[in-house]
């Protein structure tokens, strides 16, 4: 791994850690005694310190060292978490963030760092000059002196990850720490994993330790030494006191595991094992060999047991893999190719006579099933829970609430709901904006709330859930709601609505998504500048989602965001206009109908409409709009696809319906067309390119003309 790659890994990791830290610290503020969170924060700081040291962010390294010491004191109960500490922590994180991710003015940054260090040291009782000293923190953590009663023996098998050094941990330090707890009575270093010299990577850890330690400490103390490594390394700590006091063992190598496995399998029993150990004695025979020698098990059984041993060891190592998301995108592209190939096979089958096509169709049916599953699997890799995105708003809500003198609780529901990674990455900003709006315009100050008989603190709920193949995210506040009358007046004032227009309440409310709209009487620091909800809406629509708003005056507001599960493949309806084939996303389609001539008319101000079950629906002529040649010139000659966008229904005139299939979306360069009516293209089974209609964009475009 070169330096740049290492730094990138570090940056990504840090982002994750910082976002976790922020959410944990805000939680800590509410539950100040939660030992689990305290430990977790301590560990985050430690990791951050270690990795920033490796990639050479010296200031961050030194600074996090202070934070770590501070938290070590909190951990051991030297003092309680107070709001000052929380402030220090949050400000410190802001500093780390700006130091790592932005170009900072070094003087200003150093000043802030110094100030924070001083504040931290007030707790830890160190002076600032101490800061450059990078001490071995392990000795701090691990410097327990034996206080417990009696002597204990622990057998520790420590097999570290190959890449342990990259996480800033030196196994040797841990072993040295261990030795401060007692006497190492046995130390067996396994050299087995060391590869041939020519392939040896000096940056990898190949050694495995087996240590037996005699100590007065209890197991917890021993485990503490391994605090930072126990989760992702194979650390096996076993109290073997009874064996040692029995004095029946001399050396207890990794072969013991083999013995254990054989006992578990019922191949040998406890007595056999004892006998074997005796036989093994001081001689450096391997247990497996002795077992075979003694005829207790066949070589195959021993081999199998050894393999099992190896498997257990490996299990932890391969449980997760980090992959660049570009590689996943490649996989999805390739899958797209397969889907297209399949479609062309289907076309071939259609052209054959029945008997021949029967066999092919059967084979294709099987293939279809597999590719569908394949697609689901690949998509599921890209799916990540929305929880972390929600969590990161805790900090934001806390800060914003403070700034506006409000008390607000953020409630999170359905954090494990999974969405496409791209969607997650791009939903953060719109959500933030909606939350900001809720705080600024929704939640009332505590006294107002009390007067209304509401709890003094306001609640904002973020809720995610799946429904009918889409993901919904609700942002709910129990604030004052939106005054529809006020919105209406504002809309009229802005010229968005005619003063005497008769429109539904929903339609009025949707006005807040218009550019330049804000009902806030005073322009706050946070929102009310009239930019916002329209941007939110555009962002969500770019993700092929939609947003709606529901509000009850005095009770609260709900903003519901609907998002597609994935961005890469959609179900599409193929329609034809003359020679042209177009694709209408099935999600927007309500129905396809034929109209009678008497149901067609032109209405002043609305253009052409058709009457469908008593409702007038505007007609769209794609041939005129797109400049293509259609066979059917009149609405009653062909078919009408009824689509819906933002609660509005529209009828699109088409010649014919071709079918319905999975559509792999290929993006087309924005410089090709300025039309918003096209969201992308796809490749059909015959290799032709067909354009995908963006219903929403189409509606927008029609309104323009």
């Amino acid at each position: 791994m070169n330096d740049a790659a290492l730094t990138e890994v570090f940056m990504n990791e840090s982002k994750e850690i910082i976002s976790n830290l922020e959410s944990d610290i805000v939680t800590l503020e509410e539950n100040r005694k939660d030992q689990e969170i305290i430990n977790r924060i301590f560990r985050y700081f430690h990791t951050l310190k270690g990795s920033s040291g490796i990639v050479g962010f010296k200031t961050v390294y030194e600074f996090t060292h202070h934070l770590e010491s501070l938290f070590d004191k909190v951990r051991s109960g030297d003092f309680d978490v107070d709001s000052d500490i929380i402030d220090i922590l949050l400000e410190s994180i802001d500093w780390i963030k700006s130091e790592l991710f932005t170009d900072v003015d070094s003087d200003e940054s150093a000043g802030k760092r110094h100030e924070l260090t001083l504040r931290i040291n007030r707790y830890t009782g160190k002076d600032a000059a101490d800061s450059a000293k990078s001490e071995n923190f392990m000795s701090e953590v691990g410097a327990y002196k034996g206080i417990g009663s009696g002597e204990r023996f622990f057998r520790i098998n420590a097999a570290f990850r190959d890449n342990i050094f990259f996480s800033g941990i030196d196994p040797l330090m841990i072993i040295e720490d261990l030795s401060t707890l007692g006497d190492v009575v046995h130390n067996n270093i396994q050299l087995k994993r060391i590869p041939d010299f020519f392939v040896l990577d000096p940056e990898q850890c190949y050694l495995t330790w087996e240590i037996i330690i005699r100590t007065a400490c209890d197991e917890m103390k021993i485990r503490d030494v391994f605090l930072f490594v126990i989760d992702d390394n194979e650390i096996d700590i076993e109290n073997v006191t009874d064996r040692y006091t029995d004095a029946r063992q001399k050396s207890w190598g990794t072969e013991k595991k083999l013995g254990e496995i054989l006992i578990e399998k019922g191949i040998i029993n406890d007595n056999d094992l004892d006998e074997l150990i005796n036989l093994q004695g001081d001689k450096h025979f391997r247990l497996g060999d002795i077992i075979i020698q003694q005829g207790l098990a066949s070589p195959r059984q021993v081999d199998e047991a050894l393999q099992e041993q190896e498997k257990i060891k490996r299990k932890i190592e391969i449980s997760t893999v980090r992959v660049e998301s570009a590689r996943l995108d490649n996989l999805i592209n390739l899958l797209g190719e397969i889907v297209i190939g399949q479609a062309s096979l289907h076309r071939l089958a259609e052209g054959m006579d029945e008997e021949e096509s029967f066999v092919l169709n059967n084979a294709l049916y099987g293939l279809d099933r597999v590719t569908r599953e394949f697609q689901e699997q690949i998509m599921s890799i890209r799916m990540v829970p929305i929880g972390p995105t929600f969590e990161q708003f805790k900090r934001f809500v806390r800060d914003t609430a403070r700034a506006t003198n409000r008390e607000i609780k953020l409630k999170i529901e359905g954090g494990d709901t999974e969405l496409d990674k791209t969607v997650i990455e791009r939903i953060g900003d719109p959500l933030k904006h909606m939350i900001r709006n809720s705080i600024d315009h929704g939640i009332e100050p505590a006294d107002t709330r009390a007067a209304k008989g509401k709890p003094a603190y306001g609640t904002i709920t973020l809720k995610a859930y799946h429904q009918e193949g889409s993901v919904y995210i609700d942002v709910i506040d129990d604030g004052s709601g939106i005054d529809a009358e006020k919105v209406r007046k504002k809309a009229v004032a802005l010229g968005l609505l005619a003063a005497d227009a008769e429109v539904s309440r929903d339609r009025v409310l949707s006005m807040i998504f218009q550019p330049g709209f804000s009902t806030a009487d005073q322009v706050g620091d946070l929102s009310g500048r009239g930019v916002g909800m329209d941007v939110v809406k555009t962002n969500i629509e770019d993700l092929r989602g939609s947003v709606e708003i529901k509000t009850r005056e005095g009770e609260g507001t709900l903003i519901r965001v609907k998002l597609p599960l994935t961005l890469a493949i959609i179900e599409g309806m193929l329609v034809s206009l003359g020679e042209t084939i177009l694709i209408v996303p099935l999600l927007s389609v309500i129905e396809t109908i034929q109209v009678k001539q008497q149901d067609y008319r032109t209405v002043e101000g609305r253009g052409e409409v058709i009457l469908v079950r008593g409702e007038y629906i505007s007609l769209i002529r794609l041939d005129r709009l797109f400049g293509i040649e259609a066979n059917c010139k009149e609405p009653w000659e062909g078919l009408i696809v009824i689509v819906e966008s933002e609660g509005e229904r529209l009828g699109i005139m088409i010649d014919d319906l071709i079918g319905q299939q999975q559509i792999v979306i290929k993006s087309i360069d924005t410089f090709i067309t300025s039309s918003r009516s096209i969201s992308g293209a796809t490749i059909l089974g015959d290799g032709k390119v067909a354009l995908i209609i963006d219903i929403h964009g189409l509606v927008q475009e029609i309104k323009k003309y």
């Binding site: 797109f626 290929k666 009516s677």
Partner: protein, 159 residues
Amino acid sequence: MDDKLKREQEQENEDLRQYVTFLVGGEIYGVSVMKVQSINEMSEITQVPRARSFIKGVINLRGAVIPVIDMRKKFGLPEKEYDSFTVILIVEARERLIGMIVDSVSDVVSIPASNIQTNINYSGKLEKSSMEGVGRIDESLIILLDVESFLSNENVQEA
């Protein structure tokens, strides 16, 4: 004999640039071979509504959807029925692939750098910045296009 060898060596020593040459409306144009990804025969073009005037549409290039430009339209020449010589030259510019519909592809030529004139006063339909220069081979002149700037955003939007 000596002379010929000498000349060859000289040419070898000199900076030779290779161009794919093609015809549009009787004129020879050249594009650096480094920019040309492939030369494809005409395939079915899907028209895109409200596309910029010189963009003919999009094609399927081995699974990717890429735009194609009609060079005749781009140069303001009258359109001509596509025939068996018409090809799509796939070039790479600004990290994307673009197809150029040309009347025919003629050759790949090597032009010594000294035979390329870059400071030309040219008042044709082509933006001067779109030209790398004019190359000379024997008696014929080749207009060398700079695909990067030729297909850059400004030029695309201008048109």
